[in-house]
Amino acid sequence: MNQPAFPRADGHIIADDGDQLHFCSTCAFSQACLSEGMDKRALNDLHVLVEHVGPLHAGDHVFREGDRFEAIAAVRAGTVKTYVIDPDGREHVLGFHLPGEVIGLSAIDGEHYPCNAVALDTVMLCRFSFPKMAVLAAKLPGLQKHLFRLLSRDIGRAALLAGDWSADRRMAAFLIAFSQRLAARGFSPNRFQLTMARTDIANYLRLAPETVSRVLRRFQQDGFLVVDRREVELVGREHLEELAGPVLRQ
């Protein structure tokens, strides 16, 4: 078992929780800060608060739309869904955030969070106070660059699905992107659980829930993947990559 199937975490994924002086091994910012010569003590000296939050349980909110924007958070374990509710009361899923990814970036622009963030399973977070972080970023070009990179990745991901793609391509792109993001964190790229409900996937991909199942069932018949409850195994990955290519521009 060298690569655990998400969300099953093993030692090498949540190995080091860090302490007063050391960053967590999963920290989304440690590299950027360290490369600027800022260790955790230096951050503390600048009163940039870094705190661990959690565990949150399925259904617990990290923040709600309109809450005062004070911090961005990096996911250490679990999955966080961001969404908004439109004036008709309909939910729109904005994205899913996996370990090593940052939520709250879309609030950088204003005083309040523009969306809701909810835990889909057991979630651990690391909160960074903002705007202290912004002040710091202004001083540290490396950190700023890192923030911009995270920000553009967030925007880019949302834009991917805006094209006029078929249900098959959307679904394949979703799976391949999900797999790539997990692989970047050391999880198995070809075996993982879809921690979000079918309706969430459907909403995010702008498909009907029945269509999500129908496409997956067909992928399964065609030998691209095997679905067992929430677990997905990509057994014919190259077919999915081919379908996903134009959507992901890969």
């Binding site: 099953r8 409900a197 079918r198 309706t199 829930p209 999500v212 997956l216 067992d228 409850r229």
Partner: protein, 465 residues
């Protein structure tokens, strides 16, 4: 598993201890009243959230019987007042409304089963009403594999009724026979002629039923090899697709009806064993394959075919080919298996009625399966259905090292290995032909809830043989 072989009587006697039948793991005594309506709703929502939600199986319990069979350990109500079904059905329809709302409409129903009690306490017209109600509320699969099955008491159904059932969509029937020996029938208060039984089997066939099952019981009062041999010959000649041979468990302190049975009329353990040997011998000679536990099937039957494919499963309705489905239990005492949960309706009629009249889902106990429960359930399922423990698959699926995780179980299996019931090889544990009749003893080695030996002594489980 195909053939059941010669059994060593001494061995069988030694393993004739009380134990669960593993129609579920964990077994019903583990269910808790902390699991209620809220938890059931949550389980249903979660099950809808799977990327490809499971299909649905529905079980409908009809608790009424016209006359008491003394051997019975089922949840049933004896009455001659057929008007009682009207008020029962009114509640059942409410329960169907409440329950159907929990499940996404695109989840197909692949199996519907009526059990009891005596489902044919209901008239064909009433059964049609129930099926129609379910068809309105659920999406029934149109595929060939979709089954609508019913347990029938041949004493109270006519060939014309069977034709009506077929028209409704019923395609499998299970007939209670037990024993044709008149002395036995009298001792258990169930007088049923060969003629009426065969007439029902014929009617099922001529109306295109996909399979007919016959239930027999060994260990009944006044039962003897000569009489049971005749019963077996008669049944085999009718060639039902499946035959179940159940062991009679005499637990009069648990089941009131059984207090009518004279303990002195019961066959001795040796005689009981001889009856089982006889059944195995005759059924094997007649070409029936041994599926596991108490079940035999003809080689071309779906169960035997599914076992050969590795697609056989076991649930509260016994062995089934419908593996990947959530089970919805409706009616008094019915058990549901939704996602990672088990839940059960109240076992007494008044509690069930009150819950429904108050607009509540009538669940009174249940449990959420932990990952350990799921792993052991999966293992026991494979053991009961395929006769082996798929070690590599379990290690992968549950991210465990089998020999570490199950070190205690393997230790408990050692004596069974010495007795020739299982073979333990690197990467493989298989049930031997001797072991096939003692599946529950083998499964018990993996049951975490039996680790306290005191629990095994409790009389709530019947004996293995």
């Amino acid at each position: 598993m195909t053939h059941a072989s010669v059994i060593d009587p001494e061995l069988l006697r030694r393993y004739d201890t009380p134990g669960p039948r593993y129609t579920s793991y964990p077994t019903a005594p583990q269910f808790s009243s902390a699991f209620g309506e809220t938890q059931l709703r949550e389980a249903a929502v979660n099950s809808n959230g799977d990327p490809i939600p499971r299909r649905l199986s529905i079980y409908v319990h009809v608790p009424f019987c016209l006359s008491p069979c003394f051997y019975c350990g089922c949840n049933r109500i004896i009455t001659r007042d057929t008007s009682r079904s009207e008020s029962y059905l009114a509640r059942l329809y409410r329960e169907i409304d409440l329950t159907a709302a929990l499940f996404d409409r695109d989840r197909e129903v692949i199996q519907l089963h009526f059990g009891g009690g005596t489902p044919n306490f209901l008239t064909p017209a009433q059964l049609r009403e129930v099926v129609d109600c379910l068809r309105r509320q659920f999406h029934f699969s149109e595929s060939d594999g979709r089954d609508i099955s019913i347990e029938l008491d041949p004493r109270f159904i006519s060939p014309a009724d069977i034709a009506e059932l077929a028209a409704i969509g019923f395609n499998r029937a299970s007939l209670g026979v037990q024993d044709f020996d008149p002395a036995v029938q009298e001792a258990v208060n169930r007088i049923q002629s060969v003629e009426q039984t065969l007439a029902v089997i014929d009617a099922c066939r001529s109306n295109g039923f996909r399979s007919v099952n016959v239930d027999l019981i060994y260990g009944l009062p006044k039962q003897n090899p000569a009489g049971f041999a005749k019963t077996l010959d008669t049944v085999i000649e009718a060639r039902p697709d499946r035959i179940a041979v159940y062991s009679y468990a005499h637990l009069p302190e648990l089941f009131k009806a059984q207090r009518q049975i004279e303990a002195s009329d019961l066959p001795s353990p040796e005689a009981k064993l001889a009856l089982l040997q006889l059944a195995i011998q005759k059924l094997s000679d007649a070409g029936y394959e041994y599926i596991g536990m108490d079940h035999f099937a003809l080689p071309d039957d779906d169960l035997a075919q599914a076992q050969a494919r590795g697609g056989l499963h076991r649930n509260f309705m016994g062995y089934t080919t419908h593996s990947d489905s959530d089970l919805i239990g409706l009616g008094v005492s019915a058990i549901s298996h939704i996602g990672d949960s088990f839940s059960q309706n109240p076992r007494d009629l008044p509690s069930w009625q009150i819950a429904i009249d108050e607009g509540r889902l009538p669940v009174f106990r249940g449990m959420h399966l932990s990952e350990d429960d799921q792993l052991r359930a999966d293992l026991i399922q494979q053991l009961m259905c395929q006769g082996e423990v798929p070690i590599a698959a379990l290690e992968r699926r549950y991210d465990i090292r089998f020999n570490d995780y199950f070190a205690d179980s393997i230790e408990r299996l050692k004596p069974l290995e010495s007795d020739g019931l299982v073979r333990i090889e690197p990467g493989r544990i298989t049930v031997t032909s001797q072991g096939r009749l003692l599946l529950r003893n083998i499964a018990m080695c993996f049951d975490r809830y039996l680790e306290n030996p005191a629990a095994t002594i409790a009389p709530r489980f019947s004996r293995a043989i």
